[in-house]
């Protein structure tokens, strides 16, 4: 502070000792301008849309329609008790779909627990993608098959993994980029900050996509972050931040594609914030009326990602009523198939509990497996013991209570 330096000089009789000034501090100017444009990038409904590739637009549209249908179908399945829980991404389909379509085959996707749709749009079997949420296994697919990491429930913890994988790929000389998804709430976790820092310092080929859907369960963004935007957070780590309209699929695709290219060129990570809205409740178990007004939801419904794309395509003559019908029918077929497959009871083998804990089973686990096998055999055996006890009873009344 200014005051203390003058006061030393003013001390009567004191020898004036001027401290040697510190070496001039230079703010680093490389990488060059990092600050995001304050206005989210938009394409649909603007003149820029004329330059967009109609084939890509059509592809995005088809996936958006399927994605919306997937969300409504999965939500319906929770009502029938077929899924333990479903965090719907209705309203956010543009982010989900663009995230999947922007990737090359060899790239990796690191989804958060809400991003089933991105995984499906990437090519995952829709039923396998729901395994976690149905509750028959924790991850229903082999991550290597489509290069999709397990849906991560602990928030932001997948982000350092994305950085590490991207870094490893580069060390091996592979041309691979990782795209990691996180919610607005997740940006508050320490893992988010550590991941961004590592990514920037290592110039790792990774892209972070924040889906800012306004809420972390009940907590609005204003209570989550005081930053001008979440994209601004990039600057402190030394990477560019970009803001995009998260309901504009072509805009999200464009911004992500640029970021992916940048990463692929070896120029390091980018943080993209997509501004969108979670139209449904947090999950089917949540009561959103406790923390937000319906009028706000309705306003966002008017800025619907599927409708925005549809309008653009209709105006440009890339789509007509027949095309809309065709996309809807395709989505319906997908939904019917999903419903049918989800209505079939999954075949579960309780012995699987012991199969994948270690590469080689420990003697302790082998003993426990033997115990369970004996219990299962005893319960399958209709012994006339008059003993009505259920071998698998949890003893907990609330066991049927699904959240």
């Amino acid at each position: 502070m200014k005051k203390s330096s003058t006061s030393v000089q003013e001390l009567p009789g004191a020898a004036v000792r001027r401290p040697t000034p510190p070496p001039a501090w230079q703010p680093r100017t490389d990488p060059a301008p990092l600050l995001p444009d304050p206005e989210p990038f938009r394409v649909l409904g603007t003149p820029a849309a004329a330059g967009a590739d109609p084939a890509l637009l059509l592809r995005l549209y088809t996936e958006l329609v399927r994605g919306r249908r997937y969300n409504t179908q999965a939500t319906a399945l929770t009502k029938q008790g077929r899924l333990a829980v479903y965090p719907s991404s209705t309203g956010q389909e543009a982010c989900e779909v663009a995230a999947a379509l922007v990737l090359e085959d060899r790239d990796w996707l690191f989804p958060s627990y809400r991003d089933t749709l991105a995984a499906v749009a990437r090519g995952l079997d829709p039923v396998q993608a729901l395994t976690l949420l149905r509750g028959d296994w924790h991850t229903g697919y082999d991550p290597h098959e489509h290069r999709v990491a397990p849906l991560s429930t602990p928030l932001a913890t997948q982000l350092p993994h994305a950085v590490g994988l991207a870094h490893a790929a580069r060390l091996k000389g592979d041309d691979v980029v990782a795209l990691a998804l996180v919610g607005d709430g997740g940006t508050s976790e320490g893992d988010f900050h550590e991941a961004l820092n590592f990514a920037a310092v290592w110039r790792a080929p990774v892209v972070f996509l924040v889906q800012n859907n306004g809420f972390a369960i009940s907590v609005p963004l204003a209570k989550q972050s005081a930053a001008p935007s979440l994209a601004h957070k990039a600057v402190g780590y030394g990477m560019p931040g970009r803001l995009v309209d998260g309901n504009d699929a072509i805009a999200v695709h464009t911004v992500l594609a640029e970021a992916m290219d940048r990463a692929r060129r070896g120029e390091g990570p980018t943080l993209v914030e997509a501004v969108t809205y979670r139209v449904e409740a947090h999950t089917n178990a949540d009561d959103a009326t406790r923390y937000r007004e319906d009028s706000e939801v309705q306003a966002w419904r008017a800025h619907d990602p599927v409708k925005l794309m549809e309008r653009e395509l209709l105006e440009r003559g890339v789509l007509d009523e027949a095309g809309i019908k065709k996309a809807a029918e395709g989505a319906e077929v997908m939904a019917a198939r999903l419903r049918e497959r989800m209505n079939a009871e999954p075949t579960l083998d309780p012995m699987d509990l012991f199969t994948h804990v270690y590469a080689e089973q420990t003697t302790q686990l082998a003993e426990q497996a033997a115990l369970l096998r004996a219990e299962l055999e005893a319960s399958a055996d209709p012994a006339p013991s008059g003993d009505a006890r259920d071998a698998g009873s949890t003893g907990g009344e609330a066991a049927g209570e699904r959240r």
Binding site: A84, A216, R403
Partner: protein
């Protein structure tokens, strides 16, 4: 003053009332956590607190468990009594650095000059059909950390009384709430809560003579049910509800086992390296000459918590407890 009639209450409502009463009595009590304000917590334990006491007393924090507990440390250093809510067992893990390095050690590091009266509420355990990361039994991690009290109620009375005691404690308390008992009911009057044993004491929930079931939290009702079922087979089982894992009530437990001569420890967290090993060792050390059989353990399997469709095979139920009880006859048989 009018007295409210004794009515059925849930454990969740008793916990909510305990928070409310603690905040009303002591302005230094502050609640913080994810979704604790407007929403009232995902289990509604903090429902109404923000409306009654304001956002500064019941605060929705940013989504960061290390931050929640770390700021609670600072608040406690300045004289407040923070009660933090971790949303689920497995989401508390980011806060372990703060818990282990600071919360548990501050009194010791400062030679008693700076105790930290923090209550960390953690809904824990399975049996509610939750997907991955929503059903961990994390008590062994806490028990292994010196400097923390670790407690868990199993009844509505205890939910109220123990939470009040935890908040009033001058030491950090990890208050484990058995999720699957949140909706369990009992006759209870919020205005005349029953006197409960202080933290650190175990309670005999059922008297018996043939063997002692030593248990806590979500496994208490399982053991009581098993004790009833065992009567048919001629076993009169005693059930001890530990209530507090740290400190551990050696006295009540040993007295019971000396009376019955046999013991089974029952909990749903994993057995290997789990709480049961410590408990069995203590019982053996104190009751060796009274024991008719080795102290047995009935625990969850040593696996990551299973998906909901398979959890019933993992959780120790009545049958597994009874099988263990049957095995207590080994010596008389051989």
């Amino acid at each position: 003053m009018t007295t409210t009639a004794v009515k059925p209450a849930t454990m969740a409502s008793a916990l909510q009332r305990a928070l409310r009463d603690a905040m009303a009595e002591d302005p230094s009590v502050h609640v913080l956590g994810e979704d604790v304000g407007t929403l009232g917590g995902v289990f509604r334990i903090t429902d109404g607190l923000a409306a009654e006491f304001g956002d500064d007393r019941c605060t929705d924090t940013p989504l960061a468990e290390a931050g929640i507990l770390g700021t609670a440390v600072g608040m406690a250093m300045y004289g407040l009594r923070p009660v933090v809510e971790m949303q689920f067992d497995a989401f508390a893990y980011p806060s372990f650095e703060q818990l282990i390095s600071h919360v548990a050690k501050m009194r010791n590091r400062t030679r008693g000059a700076m105790p930290l009266p923090i209550t960390v509420r953690v809904p824990y355990g399975g049996g509610i059909g939750g997907v991955e990361h929503h059903s961990d039994s994390s008590e062994a991690y806490y028990m292994a950390t010196a400097g923390l009290h670790v407690v868990t109620p199993a009844t509505v009375d205890d939910a109220y009384g123990m939470l009040r005691a935890a908040i009033a404690s001058d030491d950090p308390v990890v208050f484990l709430e058995p999720k699957r008992l949140y909706w369990s009911k009992a006759q209870w009057s919020p205005d005349e809560p029953a006197a409960v044993e202080p933290i650190g004491r175990a309670v005999v929930r059922r008297r018996g003579t043939s063997a002692t079931l030593i248990t806590y939290g979500p496994s208490v009702p399982v053991c009581l049910e098993a004790a009833e079922a065992a009567r048919a087979e001629g076993w009169d089982l005693e059930v001890v509800d530990l209530r507090s894992l740290v400190p551990f009530d050696d006295e009540t437990v040993a007295a019971s086992v000396r009376r019955t001569g046999r013991a089974v420890v029952v909990h749903e967290s994993t057995g290997f390296g789990g709480p049961g090993g410590e408990i069995a060792a203590r019982v053996t050390e104190r009751c060796f000459h009274h024991l008719e059989a080795p102290v047995l353990r009935v625990a969850g399997f040593d696996i990551p918590y299973p998906p909901p469709m398979l959890e019933r095979h993992h959780l120790p139920g009545v049958d597994r407890v009874l099988d263990a009880v049957a095995r207590l006859q080994w010596e008389t048989e051989s």
